[in-house]
Symmetry: D2
Subunit: 359 residues, 4 copies
């Protein structure tokens, strides 16, 4: 099979990353990224110098809708919900890397994104694309809502713990999340210039990030109940990467049986058959509270790859499980998981085009 691909929104970081990965995908033929007329593909994406890819306009892509097998949306909020139906009607599968189809409930969408949903009927059909956890639904879908970068990392990081029933969810789940500056978009903005953002931590959306309700929606089924996600976000001094650290209260009656080893077992069992999720379980050598590196995942272990590394620990004094999960926000957090979904939707090897380990 040789898939023909459209990418609506080919100039940003996610669109560029899709191109980069699809150029090396054995099952993909044509790749048509869109841009406004006049943009030069290789000047926008100089890492793809000599690749031969060229931009088309959205109009040109729409005219060729009938020739496409899969269409990705890497657009600002509001675009995919308006344009996806047209491609679906022509028989293409749609994977939305933007936020438009992440809430089954249109009112929740309107609340979080500030405008009514343009295709409410499609919402119930859209599958939330954490491949590892919804593989069968993804395989059957024609419309996948690719999760937010913070969200996919957190869902992978917390699903085993929430499923275990160990968590005390009368307390909020506390999430401190750090994103690379590629997550700030590609439009030049003063605060994210190199001279401003370098060697810094740049916090934003402290009053509540849009991925918090996304997480509350999609973690609840694992927890078997409603839950509250208190989330804070910042950009760190790197381009690629999501680093999330979660604190989850353990139920008082369960604490006696919880320690790092027990949590590691839980996570390794849960992800034993998953290629892209790996648990860092290196043995600690030091005594409690001594500073010890290397026994949890570092962010840069996954840079450039579709892997999610997860580490866990337990604070026995205060009764909190700690989870660290890391991904590359442009790969597992966007383009890579989107391709993983495409592979599953198209009957290809799930790993096709996603083989490289982190740098």
């Amino acid at each position: 099979m040789t898939l023909r691909i459209g990418i609506v929104g080919g100039t940003g970081h996610s669109g560029g990353e899709l191109c980069r990965l699809l150029l090396n995908h054995p099952g993909v033929g044509t790749v048509l990224p869109t841009a406004r007329s006049g943009e030069e593909f290789e000047r926008v994406h100089p890492n793809l110098l000599g690749s031969g890819l060229r931009f088309v306009t959205v109009e040109q892509l729409q005219e060729r809708a009938g020739e496409l097998d899969v269409v990705f949306f890497c657009t600002p909020s509001g675009e995919a919900m308006r344009s996806a139906p047209r491609f679906l009607e022509h028989g293409a599968k749609v994977i939305d890397v933007s936020a438009d189809f992440r809430f089954p409930d249109p009112e929740r969408y309107a609340e979080v994104y500030g405008e009514p949903h343009a295709s409410p009927k499609l919402l119930s059909e859209a599958v939330y694309g954490v491949t590892e956890l919804f593989r069968e639904q993804v395989a059957a879908a024609r419309l996948v809502a690719n999760p937010g970068c913070y969200a996919i990392t957190t869902v992978l990081g917390l699903a085993p713990l929430l499923r275990s029933g160990l968590a005390d969810l009368d307390s909020a789940v506390h999430l401190a999340a750090v994103n690379g500056t590629s997550g700030a978009g590609s439009k030049p903005v003063s605060e994210v210039m190199h001279a401003e953002a370098f060697a810094s931590m740049l916090p934003y959306s402290l009053e509540g990030h849009r991925h918090a309700p996304e997480l509350e929606t999609h973690l609840a089924p694992f927890a078997g109940r409603e839950l509250c996600v208190d989330m804070t976000t910042a950009h760190g001094n790197f381009v690629r990467g999501i680093y999330i650290q979660a604190s989850v209260a353990i139920r008082a009656e369960a604490r006696a049986g919880v320690d790092r080893a027990a949590l590691l077992d839980l996570y390794r069992d849960h992800y034993a058959d998953e290629h892209f999720v790996r648990i860092n379980a290196f043995a600690k050598k030091g005594r409690l509270n001594s500073k010890e590196y290397g026994v949890y995942p570092s962010l840069n272990a996954v840079t450039g790859s579709n892997f999610c590394h997860i580490g866990v620990d337990y604070d026995p004094v205060r009764g909190f499980a700690k989870v660290v999960a890391v991904t590359d926000n442009l790969v597992k957090g966007a383009a890579g998981s989107a391709i993983q979904n495409m592979n599953v939707m198209s009957g290809l090897d799930e790993r096709a085009g996603l083989g490289h380990y982190g740098l």
Copy 2:
């Protein structure tokens, strides 16, 4: 007045930073940093090339104890509690930048640092040196326990909120803290080589950091009750800086009156007369949940300075106050606040030698 200064432990990051700042301090004459025999001062601290400072051995410093006005300890845990008495006996004031005198209770020390305290009687005398909050006690002290870098930043960041009575302290205070790699010590370690730690987030001590009990001890008086500090720590991709982000539950009955403006007022009032603590209160322009930069402190605004910048917000959906506080871990988090304490203890202008704004 011209102070004569000893620095026990002059080869590490804090010791070097003390030298750097004291070289530019108008009230300081002699500065004697210690090192093992054979170490060359300017090769260890190439930023101080041509400064004329030279190392002495600890033995040489002890012999000259009677000539010293102030002695700083920048040593690993366990050293200051053994050596400080000797300098105190000779009439020098001691400012311990290490952790030895941070717990009034010797048993708590033993619990956290794993060995019995060598000078338990001095513990009750030691003043915890957050100058802004304990200025009178510092002025009267001959022994100051300089706070940990995470701790001072957090205490400054949370004292106003805890004092206000708004916090629901049946819930834990959740603290996500990021430190520069200068906080990892100066001994070469594989995981903190540039090639390993660059462009990464390197988590450590997830089972409970030693600054958590330090915080629980020293925040309790502001809260008027015991409290639980759930803390996670990582090194970010920068050399200098502490970035802390705290989530504090607001009492249900108080929530109606809390918003960002109210919290900003609380903080500006609290620190209205403080030179080194500044509140970032820039107006937001966007709608709720939109991504907006610049309305909270960025870490690099304080690099190289003794300032602490604080920002606040409120998540009205979930009822959490959010506090961001940033300092330079080597200045306000160590050498700078130590000099600020020295200034107060010696009757100098509190700002002497600490005037520079952040880079």
Copy 3:
């Protein structure tokens, strides 16, 4: 004395740095930076939060010209040559941090900057402000042309060698120079966004940088003849700093007497009395060609300071002297040397306000 200062162009990196340094200068009172109406000072320069400085418009500053002792220009090319006369007429001294007065010859200016000079008569009066090398002229000047950041670093780095007569100047001097991204200006530009410029080297102006003719003009007097400066430039992955590395051919007949030790002697003698220029002369331990760190200046040794560190070596096989010189482009390369010139012009201690060592 309490100087009253105007800064034309207060929103960019150099203007902000002048404010930062002048806030801590013991001889300075009023500081009036300009910006377009509507700009908020502390939002533009968040490191100066709470400093109390406020922008005025250029018109407001011009109206108050008679009250000013010193006016700095931190403006794009072309502005200072038009506006400086007005301030000079009112008796203020002018220090131009832009490029307008760096060429004594108006035709050379026109050639390099692409438009005729607006105040050609002032050109012959302007003193080129490398304080260490033109101290007497600076002291007597009412108009100083502050050198370019690459240029001042290179002039300091090469003056001793060129004066020595050892160089073979029938060959070009080859200069590889790297600048921080603060040198790219403060206007948001796609290629200098954090996500684009991080962890990179970004070359520019390879066909010839404007500081090359500036250097050819101002190095010639030290060489006693014309010379050719072949220069290449790039931005590195840091915000502050100029790193220059020069290769200078040694005359065949002089090579027998040249080695690293001889060059170090030459440089230490030349700068023996200079506070802000320091020579890294740490002894090498390894054999020839073995990789050895620490025996030349590293860029970050001078970050945040007004120092210039210089290191030298000699390639005996090929006959080239090698010079490495480093400065902070915003301090010694702009605002710091401008203040050093102000100090000299105003009869203040040359080091006033510039005391801090590098971070």
Copy 4:
């Protein structure tokens, strides 16, 4: 075909990178990296968590020499020249990523590396592995000397210009080269700790780098004469990457016909059929000497890839051609080009396992 691979020296950056790339190579089966007994593979290379690779000892690898198709050496100087013969005798092909076989002349080796060569007879047999320029010889070789990271980037960058006859080689070729800190080795060293090397430029070997004679040896055939390479080196603030910038004097009589366009034509013609070498020829929009980004290669365009991007320009005032070439020092500068050579030596598609574009 399924190749069985040994890697002598599997703990360093090059060895780890070979493992990373070979894990994703369609023609490779067994991969056996060596380490001292006791080292845990995934702890040394946490990016390869879950890969299943395990270290063997050198002795174990030697015992299995007869089962191996290809052996890579990623060892310090002196090891490969002693151990390679054993593997060659058993019929394995050897690709030496260290420096042992880069000089055809054993005396030159002894001069540069400070000890006599242990296998002088093999030197004449070893092929210098710049695949693009010596493809036929590589295909026929059983022993390939993989070039140094600086050297391969420079050879690719200068071969077209030297072949053209335009260069005036009575003048030296001047080379300013910057390497990532992964090039500093994996042994913890004080000067290359994150806290020391971050946001810096760290110069070394200014008296002459060992890759200079390597370049003089291997560039001479392209020039058709001897030449002198004046080289300076530093580590920049990134982990991966070689950035070289070369100045080459153009012969006086040829200058009239040289400009950027002519040089671009020369380079595009030369590399028209090469997959891994790409020329950045984006049109300039600005006037001469104006600062313009994006018209030359940036280092990070090739990070993680086996590509070499080259850009050129010409300084018409001074008569120098300027060449910028960038590679990833661990891929095209080491493991990637080694695999490219392996592919050619083994009759595989030259691009196998090396398809990914830069991040």
